[in-house]
């Protein structure tokens, strides 16, 4: 348990110090080093902690304390859960965070010291929140950290706050994920109402014992799934992720590729033992996953911003994972989560390196960078191969497992679509590689290789992306060390699965090579040929527009209706009442005309009134 606490405390201490000591924050570099030290401690501790789980020799451990005592209902306990899943995930998060923070030291070097301090404060905060999320032992605490990583994301996306787009993107990210979190919160409520607990272990036990009504379980899980969809940018909540690329690139690597966006999948893997009790929901998750994977990949085809290509790719890959969860292959999903973290973080970091060199995100402004930046190019290639799923990179193994589990789950159509998506994936990443690294013209500016602080993390990740497939045997061991170990049956996937997958990937790569390197055909012509489809893709299936419309019409419209109603009707009545009183008072005052005999009428009238009261009834 102590390593887990150390894991959490490292970044927390760094954040607290940087946050509470303005001079430290304003100094910039010391703050950065402090943050790196914190995350390094966390990485070390979590690494040590994870090893036994990878070897399959550790049992789950929990630590909890009373957080909110309640009467009339079970008190809320918070705590840490260390098991195969959380320990390995924590190690992953800490590792990548460490690499990214080191990388940022060089990448963000041109920022003003105060800005840099702020950046590292956010980074430390995010690391703490993400680790907390991973190590949570109950749903509510997960939600707590879930929102906190959302905040970290918001802050980091909007890091360049003076750019209007950055502020806008940050808002969009926060709002969209929050929309899903409405479901998450309600889901927690529903589950709590049905099971009376937030804790995973108790929840699993109760559900397993049949103590929870099926409908409530489905409803609650559906809510939680909505939350996961928001966080993991599943269709139609994917809209925020491409825009989130307004943030600094290392942030994109850490948050919007490797860790936070994967939290949704992580959560689904975590609750997978419950999901099996809600088969309809499983199907829905599968459908969403496949759809997301495919649509996002298609959108990546027409994107020219390198980071957005990668962002769509992330969405697509998360779709793969979701599909795996939906088809019952939580292990496959988690495996892909790990490998994806390696290669996608790597891709983003290399993209950052490119952008750093070129000063632009636009693929078409890059070219022949491989010559000037060999390390970067090599790393990019490694990442691209892993993403495309070429043997023997990490991506190959994990994607293969997903495809196998999908097929085993009895979704042949989905399987086909995913294979197709794999092809598209290979094509767009190939396109990016050829445009940026090789190509026919030189990039603008004077490209140069990035400093060691940047290339070293890239190199580490590149290695991991290439050999990460070796983790495959560890996955069942990890799962055996969770609180609800699944009955793993060594799946024997049909032999055609990896072959199909590899074929699709190779053909995708080949096609991109033909189009962008060999120039065998003009991609522009293709685009013109399929005009409406291309427009559809370029407009991102109009989902963003739909959100915009809802925001403008539904929210702002309703808002002004309510505002108007309040000012002129509700308050209008109040004002009208006072105004009437005012007028009546004035009229009465006018009747007091100073003529005493007119006033004496009142005496006579009063006399008559009293006499009537006395006698009349």
């Amino acid at each position: 348990m102590i390593p887990a606490l150390v894991t959490l405390c490292g970044p927390l201490a760094a954040f607290a110090l940087i946050g509470l000591l303005p001079p430290l924050r304003r100094a910039g570099r010391p703050a950065a080093l402090l943050s790196i030290a914190g995350i390094a401690v966390a990485a070390l501790a979590s690494g040590i902690q994870a090893v036994p789980y990878f070897r399959g020799v550790a049992a789950p451990a929990t630590y909890e304390f009373l957080w909110a005592p309640l009467t009339g209902a079970p008190s809320i306990r918070f705590g840490l859960l260390v098991d195969g899943l959380s320990a390995s995930m924590a190690a992953l998060v800490a590792l990548i965070a460490l690499l990214v923070q080191v990388y940022s030291l060089a990448y963000m070097a041109s920022e003003k010291p105060a800005s840099l301090g702020r950046y590292y404060a956010y980074q430390a905060f995010f690391a703490f929140a993400m680790l907390g999320l991973v190590l949570s032992h109950n749903l509510l605490q997960t939600y707590v950290f879930w929102e906190m990583v959302g905040l970290g994301s918001y802050l980091l996306i909007g890091f360049f706050w003076e750019r209007p787009e950055a502020g806008r993107a940050a808002l969009k990210a926060f709002w969209t994920t929050r929309l899903g979190d409405v479901g998450f919160a309600l889901g927690i409520l529903v589950l709590w109402g049905a099971a009376g607990t937030f804790t995973f272990t108790e929840l699993f036990a109760k559900v397993g014992g049949g103590a929870v009504a099926g409908s409530a379980l489905s409803l609650g899980l559906a809510g939680i799934t909505l939350g996961a969809m928001g966080k993991s940018a599943q269709f139609p909540f994917h809209v925020w992720l491409p825009d989130a690329m307004e943030g600094p690139t290392p942030v994109s690597a850490l948050i919007h590729a490797a860790t936070m966006v994967a939290a949704g999948v992580y959560l689904m893997v975590r609750v997978a033992p419950l999901l099996s009790h809600a088969p309809e929901l499983m199907s829905a998750i599968f459908a969403i996953g496949v759809l997301t994977a495919f649509l996002a990949a298609t959108m990546a085809l027409v994107e020219s911003d390198i980071k957005r290509v990668l962002a769509f790719s992330t969405v697509s890959q998360l779709g793969f994972m979701m599909a795996a969860v939906g088809s019952g292959g939580a292990g496959a999903a988690y495996f892909h989560l790990l490998t994806h973290a390696f290669f996608k973080a790597l891709l983003f970091l290399t993209a950052g390196s490119l952008i750093h060199a070129v000063g632009s995100n636009d693929l078409f402004k890059m070219g022949r960078l491989a010559r000037a930046m060999p390390v970067t190019a090599a790393c990019f290639a490694a990442g691209a191969l892993a993403l495309a799923g070429i043997v023997p990179t990490a991506g190959f193994f994990s994607k293969d497992e997903i495809l196998a589990s999908v097929l085993a789950g009895g979704h042949p159509l989905g399987f086909a679509l995913l294979v197709l998506t794999a092809g598209i994936t290979a094509f767009y990443i190939g396109r990016a590689f050829f445009l940026a690294m090789l190509g026919s013209h030189d990039a603008e500016g004077h490209a140069h290789e990035s400093p060691a602080a940047m290339t070293a993390p890239m190199a580490v990740l590149a290695v991991l992306a290439l050999v990460g497939g070796a983790l495959a045997p560890s996955i069942p061991r990890l799962f055996a060390g969770t609180i609800a170990p699944p009955a793993f049956e060594p799946e024997t996937a049909p032999v055609f699965v990896p072959i199909l997958g590899t074929l699709a990937a190779l053909s995708g790569l080949a096609l991109s090579w033909l189009a962008y390197q060999r120039r065998s055909f003009d991609p522009g012509a293709v685009r013109r040929a399929v005009g409406p489809v291309a427009t559809l893709l370029e407009r991102r299936y109009f989902v963003d527009d739909a959100f915009e419309l809802v925001y403008r019409r539904a929210y702002l419209g309703l808002s002004s209706v309510v505002g108007w109603f309040d000012r002129y009707v509700v308050d209008g009545l109040v004002n009208a009442a006072t105004w009437m009183t005012w007028l009546v008072a004035g009229r009465l005052r006018g009747m007091q005309n100073g003529r005493v005999q007119d006033a004496l009428y009142a005496v006579a009238a009063g006399l008559v009134l009293l006499a009537w009261l006395a006698l009349g009834r």
Binding site: Q592, N593, G594, R595, V596, Q597, L600, Y601, A604
Partner: protein, 99 residues
């Protein structure tokens, strides 16, 4: 002749006096009307005393007369004052205090 009939006459005079108070333009006319009202009340008291055999009623009437005279004295003094200061005895002209 009954006390009831006398009361009715008194009531009529009282009402006539009240009419005068409400309708007379000149302040002294109003004072005259007030006298009528008091006189009507005195008459009513006397009628009641007569009916119930109540000597105290006579005392009441005497008091009433005394007080009426006192009132009229003050009232006339006020009217004269108004005539002196405001140069008018018409009540409707005394309407600077209003609202």
């Amino acid at each position: 002749m009954t006390a009831g009939a006398l009361l009715l006459v008194a009531a009529a005079v009282f009402s006539i006096g009240l009419f005068g108070v409400l309708a007379r333009r000149h302040a002294i006319g109003v004072l005259v009307s007030i006298e009528l009202m008091f006189n009507a009340v005195n008459l009513a008291v006397a009628a009641i005393a007569w009916s119930r055999g109540l000597v105290a009623g006579v005392v009441l009437v005497l008091f009433g007369i005394a007080i009426t005279v006192a009132e009229i004295a003050i009232g006339l003094a006020l009217v004269l004052l108004a005539a002196r200061v405001r140069k008018t005895s018409v009540l409707d002209d005394l309407d600077t205090l209003r609202g």
